[in-house]
Amino acid sequence: MTERTISVNYLARVEGEGALRVRIHDRSVEDVELRIFEPPRFFEAFLRGREYSEAPDITARICGICPVAYQMSSCHAMERALGMTVAGPIRELRRLLYCGEWIESHALHIYLLHAPDFLGYPDAIRLAADHPDAVKRGLELKKAGNALMRLLGGREIHPINVRVGGFYRCPTRDELAGTRPMVEGALRLAEETARFVAGFDFPDFEESYEFVSLGHPTEYPMNEGDIVSSRGLRIPQDRFEDAFEEVQVRHSNALQAVRKGGGSYLVGPMARYALNYERLSAGAKAMAKEVGLPPVVSNPYRSIVVRAIETIYACEEALRIIDEYRPPERPWVPPPALTGAKVGAAATEAPRGLLFHRYRLEPPGRIVEARIVAPTSQNQKRIEDDLRHLVSRSLDLDQQALTFACERAIRNHDPCISCATHFLNLELVRD
């Protein structure tokens, strides 16, 4: 009998603090634990007692990489509770802000976190010594996403311009039009990115995923749509908790989400792409064809190409919004008074996938309960499943090679551990 353990005490090139432990007994994988030791920050507890208007600024602080996602999900959830909708140019500007975040976050992952794995470097800095043009292209692309976020949000990390009902200040037509050359440049960089990453060597590894994302009849999903899955699920956003549940496991400070009565599932770019391929922009679809990316991708290593295609989409969508923009009369829709206790729930598409928020409010506007389910908590169990399959077919690799293979398999899914730890299942017990 032989025991073998693979451990990584601090995963690198992921956001937040995580570790990995795999236990192998007699050539069979006994245990796979993606251990999240990032300390909990108790957001759901201290949101109680705050005003609903404070939630976009407070929940943004869950994640410095995708603050817009938190601002969007919280705004939509509050607007549902208040019985209001936001349409027209404000709706379009929210989408444009999200385009900025997708471009920034995808460029970060593609070039700084993921590409070094394919090209054999520990990081993008050392990658830049041999491939300066590639890394500079990535930084330039990332900068364009950040510039959109700065224009609409005031700054790229924790934007200050988002509020329930819309914005504090909307840009003028000229301000938006001024970004057009930059976004056109970003589109060309995104196209070069797709060609660049499609040329990488991809390990032969196909998984059978249940993909989950928003699905919208006419748009590639960001802020709106039903929750759909590749196994036939279609439910409105506020029924998320009927279909999915979270379980607490000993080895993680984050809860793991599963399909009720089912297993793990995957959210994020691969899921969005598989479920919404037809609603991609013409240029994004054309590039997928050019680089030979099929409409459903089930090799997680190729998620880097999917991110590049989504980045092209985000640039083309940004150009459309910039060209059609007419400033609204008011930068926000003033919310109506809250007339009684109300619950509002919403999900939007963070760069890493579905981000669900639910709040219970009491007049005049106080949050009495909050629940947040982040993309990485949903993917955690699915990442462990990938690892289990990877390790069981890679047992002949030496320790160092197998450890590296496991780290790579985790980075395929761009986990954001800072996000994942903020939703511990708190039950309030009153004496």
Partner: protein, 264 residues
């Protein structure tokens, strides 16, 4: 020929959102130059290569919320010539320090589904409560230009130029209309340290204090003004108790508003 010594840089994370260390990766135009001027010895978010200490400069993000982290910051301090705290979590405990306040009794009664799996202190505290800190960079998040200024200063062995005046000064320089005076919008600009670029007033909203108190704040006077503008004492408490709740001047202003009968 002697090889020039490149200062060794370590980037360390405690309880936080990763946004302040991301600010370094967001220096798209300067990142490769910075990386060429220093030796990145540890930066988990960016590299899978890690070198042993000691470090010439340690950038520390996040607050201390576990026993393990209280020990870890002492080890990092012992290995670091200059320790720089970056952001509101590291300098003032961050938003997660809300657990330290009036809510603490309620928080103590908050029970997890499986509390035995979780190891967390009842408090979130700034790094300076645990070890001496050489330079503080404020903000939630920090400002990119201020970060580059600190790195350049340390590389050039000079003191960094980090203004400690109020947001108001920067706001005037930027030519913003004063939202407090002209529109009656509650604004923490008069008591908040500059560094952000006065972006909130530029976007027609009041400053919410994410850089913490300026060097000579008169927070109680501002709290009175906020009351005149119609903010209830409980709202005044909340506005001072958000991202820099443990910073002394903000803490005192919130405590004073509490005494006026606010229920937080």
């Amino acid at each position: 020929m002697a090889v020039a010594h490149r200062p060794r840089l370590g980037v360390f994370k405690f309880a936080s959102c990763d946004g302040c260390q991301l600010t370094l990766l967001d220096c798209e135009d300067e990142l490769l130059a910075v990386a060429g001027a220093v030796e990145i010895a540890e930066f988990h978010e960016a590299t899978s290569a890690a070198l042993e200490g000691p470090y010439d400069v340690a950038l520390v993000e996040g607050s201390v919320t576990t026993e393990d982290d209280a020990q870890r910051i002492r080890e990092i301090r012992a290995q670091s010539r200059t320790l720089v705290t970056i952001g509101a979590c590291a300098t003032a405990g961050g938003i997660q320090a809300l657990r330290n306040f009036g809510d603490v009794e309620e928080f103590r009664r908050v029970v997890y589904a499986r509390p035995e799996y979780i190891h967390a202190l009842g408090t979130s505290t700034p790094i300076k409560d645990h070890v001496p800190v050489d330079v503080e960079l404020r903000g939630c998040p920090i400002d990119k230009q201020q970060l580059l200024e600190v790195i350049s200063a340390l590389l050039g062995r000079r003191a960094p130029n980090l203004p400690t005046e109020s947001v108001c000064i920067e706001c005037k320089r930027r030519g913003n209309v004063c939202v407090l005076v002209a529109h009656g919008t509650p604004c923490l600009g008069p008591v908040t340290q500059t560094g952000c670029g006065a972006i909130c007033p530029a976007f027609h909203r009041g400053c919410y204090g994410c850089f913490g108190p300026q060097d000579t704040p008169n927070a109680s006077s501002l709290a009175g003004k906020l009351g005149e503008l119609g903010m209830a004492p409980s709202a005044v408490v909340r506005v001072f108790r958000t991202f820099n709740a443990l910073a002394p001047a903000f803490r005192e202003a919130a405590d004073a508003a509490m005494k006026e009968g606010a229920t937080p």
